[in-house]
């Protein structure tokens, strides 16, 4: 007999951490983006993606609103805006 023992790979995707946000979320302005990819590199949740200038955006299902993407963007093309209803 076996009980809880082993997890399937990548199964954490079932846990949507988006509801963790209480204050703000990133808004990708898609105006001056140079596709440097730094926002993708720093995001602790790996929930930012993009391919080419002004295509980067965040998956709000997972974003915890930490703000590191906005802080790192060399072109200030990401703004932290108030979470609706916050």
């Amino acid at each position: 007999m076996f009980g809880p023992l082993i997890c399937k790979p990548g199964s954490s995707k079932n846990n949507k951490t988006g509801p963790w946000r209480t204050e703000s979320r990133p808004k990708f302005l898609k105006t001056n983006c140079i596709a440097c990819n730094m926002c993708v590199v720093v995001c602790p949740e790996a929930c930012i993606s993009g391919q080419g200038k002004n295509t980067y955006d965040v998956d709000l299902n997972y974003c915890k609103g930490c703000g590191n993407c906005a802080a790192i963007c060399p072109k200030k093309d990401i703004e932290m805006v108030k979470e609706e209803g916050a």
């Binding site: 990548g10 951490t17 703000g67 590191n68």
Partner: protein, 294 residues
């Protein structure tokens, strides 16, 4: 979502420097990687049954034995004749690497296993509530080295883990930082191209334990490097081979970003002691960038 082997949905704090670093390490290593992890924040927030963020084979056993379990995994892989194609990475925090797991780590390094050991240094036992570890910096306020009328905080300097690892005669040692993600990935790739035991220590800010805003993780990590307090260096075959050169900033710029140093800001004599540590690092490792046009 970007392609990654460290899936979102884990329960790390917002802005966690360790989760940034762990993802970068794993993505640099690629899918032919087995991860062996000590107990700690990373393991706890990434493998809460039934959910796991790891898209590669992953094993967690105990707090102090990742290096030994990895030695067993590596021996098994060698026995199976698959040693050339599979990366084995053993990981732990500063507590599990420098303190309780030092024995197992030392044995692994001494025996020459083909394993990369990554120490995520957030400078305290974070998962259990910010207690002091052997890698907690001088004068830091932690829950077991608190600042008060009778004490200034942690009275001991950081245990020199990169030098301790290097003293085992291993081919590659590197110090990296969550604030320099591409440099970290370069070091991981370089390490994995070398046969034998490797040690990489990654400075990983902890917004909760260090008491800073969640969006300052990268900035805080960068300041640690830019003040000389966290030299980014590489040892190859025992000799210091690479150092990231800096135009040193005063340590106070780093200390004032974090609540764990707040008690020092009105004590210039303590700040001077910490500046001495930074200055010693700058001298010892030759960190000062050559002035331009002089």
């Amino acid at each position: 979502m970007s392609k990654t082997l460290f899936a979102p949905g884990h329960t790390a704090c917002a802005g966690c420097g360790q989760s940034m670093a762990a993802r970068l390490v794993l993505d640099a290593a690629g899918p032919n990687t087995i991860i062996v992890n000590n107990t700690g924040c990373l393991e706890v927030f990434s493998t809460k049954y039934p959910e796991s963020s790891w898209e590669v084979p992953f094993i967690h056993s105990l707090f102090e034995n990742a290096a030994a379990v990895a030695s067993g995994v590596e021996s098994a892989i060698k026995y199976l004749g698959k040693a050339d194609n599979i990366n084995i990475i053993a990981q732990g925090g500063d507590g599990s690497s420098a303190d309780i797991g030092l024995q197992a780590l030392s044995g692994m390094l001494e025996r020459g296993h083909n394993i990369l050991y990554v120490c995520y240094d957030n400078e305290a036992y974070m998962n259990t509530g910010v207690q002091r570890s052997g890698l907690t910096p001088f004068d830091t306020n932690t829950t077991t080295s608190p600042a008060g009328i009778a004490s200034i905080g942690n009275l001991r300097p950081k245990k020199p883990m990169p030098e301790i690892a290097n003293a085992h005669g291993i081919p590659y040692v590197a110090v990296a930082s969550s604030g320099f993600g591409q440099d970290l990935q370069r070091k991981v790739k370089k390490a994995l191209s070398i046969k034998g035991p490797k040690y990489i220590q990654v400075h990983a800010p902890c917004p909760l334990g260090w008491r800073h805003e969640t969006n300052l993780t990268i900035q805080v990590a960068k300041l640690a490097v830019e003040t000389g307090l966290y030299p980014l260096i590489e040892y190859e075959n025992g000799a210091l081979s690479v150092r990231r050169q800096i135009t040193p900033k005063p340590v106070e710029e780093y200390l004032k970003t974090q609540g764990r140093f707040k008690h020092l800001l009105n004590k210039p004599e303590e700040i001077k002691k910490i500046q001495d540590i930074a200055d010693n690092n700058i001298k010892k490792y030759g960190l000062r960038a050559e002035a331009q046009g002089v």
